[in-house]
């Protein structure tokens, strides 16, 4: 009798282990099938060469620029750049699907001003809906006579 009870208990334990394994596998399959969870582990390298021209300004220190980015995305670009003595504050829009902003170092040498720093992706849509929070580097120049801007935006972003 005692042996029979032990046998039943072992069977129950084995069944429980088998069932929990099946549940875990099902959960794992569900995770892989979920496009959101699947996408969050993927990244993409981005490298854009941007050239933009002045389209407007707000006061003497905030410039609005428009142009194109050529590279991974080749998107139309809008850049707002606020200039201080040693820093610039940049907002960058790549089409309607990627936007970022950041503070960069800024300095002047003759007719050229230089900036470099990091952009934090603040908005993404479509392919880039999981990109907010990613960081890209930005480095470029601003011509102090024409305000023509050119820069390189590069890095790895989450998809």
């Amino acid at each position: 009798m005692h042996i029979r009870w032990r046998g039943l208990l072992t069977l129950a334990l084995l069944l429980a282990v088998a069932m929990s394994g099946a549940t875990a596998q099902a959960k794992s399959e569900h995770y892989l099938a979920d496009p959101i969870s699947k996408a969050s582990s993927r990244t993409e390298s981005v490298h854009e060469s941007v050239s933009a021209q002045l389209t407007g300004h707000h006061g003497a220190t905030e410039l609005a620029e428009q142009g194109v980015a050529r590279g991974t995305q080749s998107c139309p670009v809008k850049i707002n750049i606020k200039l201080a003595y040693t820093k610039s504050y940049i907002t960058f829009y790549c089409g309607t699907y990627l936007a970022g902003s950041g503070t960069t170092a800024f300095y002047v040498s003759g007719q050229t001003a230089y900036f470099h720093g990091t952009l934090l992706i603040t908005r993404g849509s479509g392919h880039y809906r999981h990109s907010p929070g990613s960081r890209l580097s930005i480095a470029g120049t601003l011509h102090r006579g024409t305000y023509a801007l050119s820069c390189e935006v590069a890095g790895t972003i989450s998809l």
Partner: protein
């Protein structure tokens, strides 16, 4: 002569020497700072004028100035001016003097009074200043200062000023290390007692070439922010002297009455 007498005399001599050397240190200099905008109209391009006077006891020359940190108000900058659209270098200044520099590298002009104690007399010399755009150093906007005087001492000194980050109500600090200026044999280095300088288009003429013709123009200066902070546009400076003493001074360009009214209304 007894050893004790010699020791006493040496002691007295050392004491006198100590008093003589210590007196300029004890008379810690005070600095008066004066700043202004010309024109003084918010939202317009301006020339910033800066002046300071180093005050000591009458008849005492201050110790030579070795370092100045000049803080500029936030909301301004050089990015959208064409001030210093060309650069001048130390080697050009050394080889050809100020006339070797491009006209379009001038960012300001000024003058200073330096004093040299020589025996019981104090010689004063008027020195001209030129401020020029220089190549950036370690990714900092850099200006070159050229100070040149003729008599009684013919001297020319060149030094850099770098724009660095600042905190509080200031947008940047212009950090300048000033080299010592040797004077007459046996006399101490020259000491700056007064300086007046501009940063902006006033008194500066640039040239552009159009259809083979050289056309003069005035560059645009830094723009005065439209919003005036309470207490005015703040400036401050810290001065360090050869003897290790320091002095600080603050000043502000007052807000226009209309601006103050606007700020109060917004509150």
């Amino acid at each position: 002569m007894k050893i004790a007498t010699i020791a006493t005399r040496l002691g007295i001599l050392a004491g006198l020497l100590w008093i003589a050397l210590a007196s300029p240190v004890d008379a810690a200099p005070a600095v008066k700072l004066k700043v202004g905008f010309s024109p003084d109209k918010p939202g317009s391009s301006t020339t910033v004028s800066v002046g300071f006077t180093i005050q000591t006891q009458a008849g005492v020359v201050p110790p030579p100035l070795t370092e100045v940190e000049f803080q500029l108000p936030a909301g301004m900058g050089l990015g959208t001016t064409d001030l210093g659209e060309r650069i001048c270098t130390v080697s050009i200044l050394e080889l050809q003097g100020v006339f070797g520099c491009p006209s379009n590298s001038y960012m300001g002009l000024g003058e200073a009074i330096v004093e040299v104690p020589f025996g019981p007399e104090i010689f004063a010399e008027s020195v001209s200043l030129a401020i020029l755009m220089a190549p950036a150093i370690e990714e900092h906007t850099t200006v070159l200062f050229l100070a040149y005087g003729v008599a009684p001492v013919a001297a020319e000194i060149i030094f850099h000023g770098e724009l660095l980050d600042a905190t509080g109500p200031y947008g940047a600090v212009l950090h300048t290390m000033i080299p010592l200026t040797p004077t007459l044999p046996g006399a101490p280095d020259a000491a700056v007692v007064r300086m007046r300088s501009t940063l902006g288009p006033k008194g500066v003429t640039y040239y552009r070439t159009s259809k083979g013709e050289r056309i003069p123009f005035h560059p645009s200066g830094m723009v005065i922010p439209k919003m005036c902070p309470p207490g005015g546009y703040p400036f401050a400076a810290t001065f360090k002297f050869l003897d290790g003493s320091t002095a600080s001074a603050k000043s502000a360009v007052p807000c226009k009455t209309a601006q103050l009214r606007r700020v109060r209304q917004r509150k």
